[in-house]
Assembly symmetry: C2
Homo-oligomer: 363 residues x 2
Amino acid sequence: MATESPIRIGVLGCAEIARKISRAIHLAPNITVAAVASRSVEKAKAPSPATNGYPPTVKIHGSYESLLDDPEVDALYVPLPTSLHVEWAVRAAEKGKHLLLEKPVAMNVVEFDKIIAACEANGVQIMDGTIWMHNPRTQKMKEFLSDPERFGQLKTVHSCFSFAADENFLENDVRVKPGLDGLGALGDAGWYTIRATLFANNYELPKTVTALPGPILNEAGVILSCGAFLRWEDGRTATISCSFLANLTMDITAVGTRGTLQVHDFIIPFQETEASFSTSTKAWFNDGVTAWVNKPSEHKIVTELPQEACMVREFGRLVGEIKNRGAKPDGFWPSISRKTQLLADAVKESIDKNLEPIFLSGS
Amino acid sequence: MATESPIRIGVLGCAEIARKISRAIHLAPNITVAAVASRSVEKAKAPSPATNGYPPTVKIHGSYESLLDDPEVDALYVPLPTSLHVEWAVRAAEKGKHLLLEKPVAMNVVEFDKIIAACEANGVQIMDGTIWMHNPRTQKMKEFLSDPERFGQLKTVHSCFSFAADENFLENDVRVKPGLDGLGALGDAGWYTIRATLFANNYELPKTVTALPGPILNEAGVILSCGAFLRWEDGRTATISCSFLANLTMDITAVGTRGTLQVHDFIIPFQETEASFSTSTKAWFNDGVTAWVNKPSEHKIVTELPQEACMVREFGRLVGEIKNRGAKPDGFWPSISRKTQLLADAVKESIDKNLEPIFLSGS
């Protein structure tokens, strides 16, 4: 293991998020940035490779095609605007490049299915960039939610993610442009809340998805704020809410028959070096009904590596298994990307159909 | 002030909650339990006046009528099943008794309007038993929510209250009986979430109320679990959720343009002697987008008197103003009782009408 060379990653494009992920790649032991591409060499160089945390040896490509053809690159990190994902992810897969693809993974699930098909046909790994999935806290939360004693059966989940975007964002960011990240707040903030909902439901798809009244769209029709209600066949429910127009808030509240989980910083923890969540089990009142017994308690998890470094390390590990030991690509990550996209599409469809419930089949 | 004798309260009925309120009356300086009534003297005596915290001098009435006729009683605490409220509250008001009325205040707003009319005609004070309104924390939360700098404009509120009722409750409690507390979990747990929503919205009624899919009813048609979505004309939204079927959870999350308020024990604080809530203002990310700046901070409020004692003290104060200084009854408390009932009715109506949105007029 120790002698295996790190997975060589190429960064496709110069989105802001690339700076964070480049740093993460630098921190992760098993992966390195080998190359970066932009449509022009100048753009790739500024901000400089140094400030992006790229190694000084990083190769600069002046076109995406050139990076795709680079034989010294194993995998690509793709933070392009969503509308470009299907083209470049498919082309990359066809060149045998493994894919760490930013979310939302596509404009819709039909596009994502093309990406999955290309990955499967070419034996490449695909994982989306939903960083919080890789925080060690997430596994601890999963253990609680899976525990019949401490949590019981899930009854309802509520998840919200809002942030107060400034005027510049609301006018110019790719996330408010129909031709770029067409799903707006739903594809960005909403993606995380949908994922949280799936996470709490053990990735079972709901039976129905109904957008809540009053989504807010910009003049170009891009969602700036919306909500949805999800319902499973056995009566489990969830609400999600996402917005570019309200103070930064990122919650999961999952309530089961015996327990409750709450987390207020599930996407990006308050602090980089630790993350916490709170749980209660069989919470009740004292005899006088004036206070609680079995009050919520807090669980702190030290994060040795920042969560984004955990993500790229895991991606590097999976790619390494394929590259060095002939393993098959892992199917879990694309399967939950697809489900998340499917639900985002359903919320959008419900909004477009005047809040009609959208019925999903399969799981 | 110091020489004024305490307001003399009579307790109508022997509901479990009376024990808590009797203790509160004992703790509050300006009010005392003068009498208690049950349909039989035996029931009124057991559990004994002593264990209920009643003074040894408490007068025992063997009928409700007899208590209503007692000239040494200024006011009544009415914890009867909801279906009996309209009859006994109206009769009590007609006898000039001020009313501390348990929630839900009536089976529907038409009934409650009869109670209000009787109170107005007889110049008596009415206040409902929504204890948390009187916790000193609530005023502090209101200050935050009203602060344009710290909170800005409200965008959305989410409130939930669930508790895992045991089998005995689900079979026998008055709250699951259509002839007693006909609104079930909506009138009980839901009442608080509706009040929280109104509280955060400065008691402005929403324009529409839509029940969420999948309410759970018992065989008699009483709601055990439900949710609703509320929307105001200017785009503010709220979701409420209430249930007898999930672990004890009681949250308010209110998100404004500049701030967020969160409280996890808003109805009954974790501890009797202090209560807290958390707020953030202009929360954002650090430069690397790997942690927060302007993180939520916790505010602790010491509660010298338990919140239920604060409630009865306030009720006693208002009654004292009327009795001793000829003041008019305070209109705020019945007005918010009425709005809460109106919204509970709207949720019920939406459930009964297959989740149709219910449009409210006026405020």
